[in-house]
Amino acid sequence: MSWADECQIEPAVVAALYLEHADELRRFLFGVLRDGHAAADAMQSAFAKLVEQGQSVKVESRKSWLFTVAYREALALKRRQSVERGAIEKLAGGISSAPAPGGSPQRRLIEWETVERVRRALEKLPAEQRDVVRLKITDQMTFAAIAEQLKLPLGTVLTRMQLALAKLRRALGDDR
């Protein structure tokens, strides 16, 4: 048996790890890359490496290892995207193809129950917090623009958002 074979992990173990961590890993990668396809690519590379080298990783460290490898893949992709985007922008006369802040993802990664839980939590928020959440996440405005629109100090907007997010995160509960 070769060294490579010895390092390979059982397919069933990989499948179990995939079921357990794939959604979270994909979200993490999406947060880094803001591109669903690129996130999927990075995740695929990470799992491919897990298949090849997973046997050498401690069982309790597998999740962290997977995220680390995926993150490196993501950064490499990001650098490539940045270079390509720069070239395209030059060709296109400076038209930016960068995603909008908090841009809408290409693939939604949430379950119905999660949305329902968050919807109920949103309804319970004080109106002033809900407004900030809506403007930030749904309308994708910057905090500065929200402060200007609501005629509030930026700090107040940030505090409202932070408080609202803490409540919404608690609503996610079991998804953590």
Binding site: E24, L25, R27, F28, F30, G31, V32, R34, K63, S64, F67, T68, Y71, L75, A100, P101, G102, S104, P105, R107, R108, L109, I110, E111, W112, E113, T114, V115, E116, R117, V118, R119, L122, P126, E128, Q129, V133, R134, K136, I137, T138, T142, F143, T156, T159, R160, Q162, L163, L165, A166, L168, R169, L172, D175, R176
Partner: protein, 209 residues
């Protein structure tokens, strides 16, 4: 605004989440971004916080824009889809049944009225059939005029079919063309038999006979 009290322990606990949210929302300066990305390189809680921030933003966006915009995993989508489909199916089935009844009643009433006022002759039906057949067979419109049909003479229908399917000037090609050009519009057996009788000399007979 009782909620806007100073944040204390709870705030510190969620610092990673707040940083992660700002990062994924593009609300960090370049320096902060670089710092947070260094953190992501070796801090698993920070990575998980980023995954949570993405999930939260997704869930809020989905909740705000409507559930139909959500792409859920198959194991979630199927039961929901099935529940909705059954309800919709039931409604559509009931609506379809009602519409069928109304249509059938209306058709029956119309036929009754026609039979009472203007009795339709068999030739009417045959003319209609011929019209449909010719139309479906992509006949030359110039060769066809529905007004040429005499409602009192059923032979006009047969003559029209003969004309299209077995024009003597084209030998048997017309009949073949009907079958070739549209298999689902193949001429009926009786028509082919009639064509055969008309064009093929009887067996055993010769010109000299």
């Amino acid at each position: 605004m009782s909620d806007e009290r100073p944040l204390t322990d709870a705030r510190r606990e969620t610092d990673a989440d707040w940083l992660a949210f700002r990062y994924q929302a593009g609300e960090m300066s370049a320096d902060e971004t670089a710092e947070f990305e260094r953190l992501l390189g070796d801090n698993q809680p920070a990575r998980e916080a980023l995954a949570r921030a993405v999930l939260l933003s997704e869930a809020v966006a989905a909740a705000a824009t409507g559930s139909q915009a959500i792409e859920t995993p198959n194991h979630v989508r199927r039961p929901i889809g099935r529940a909705m489909t059954w309800g919709q199916r039931l409604a559509w089935t009931a609506l379809g049944a009602a519409a069928s009844l109304v249509f059938a009643w209306g058709l029956d009433a119309t036929r009754g009225a026609r039979q009472a006022g203007h009795p339709a002759s068999p030739a009417d039906d045959l003319s209609g059939l011929a019209i449909q057949w010719r139309a479906a067979g992509d006949f030359n419109a110039g060769d066809f005029n529905a007004d040429d049909f005499n409602a009192d003479d059923d032979n006009d229908v047969a003559a029209a079919v003969d004309h299209d399917a077995c024009d003597s000037s084209t030998d048997n090609h017309s009949a073949v063309a009907v079958r070739d050009s549209s298999d689902d519009l193949a001429a009926p057996d009786w028509l082919l038999a009639a064509v055969g009788e008309k064009q093929m000399p009887p067996m055993g007979k010769t010109d000299g006979d």
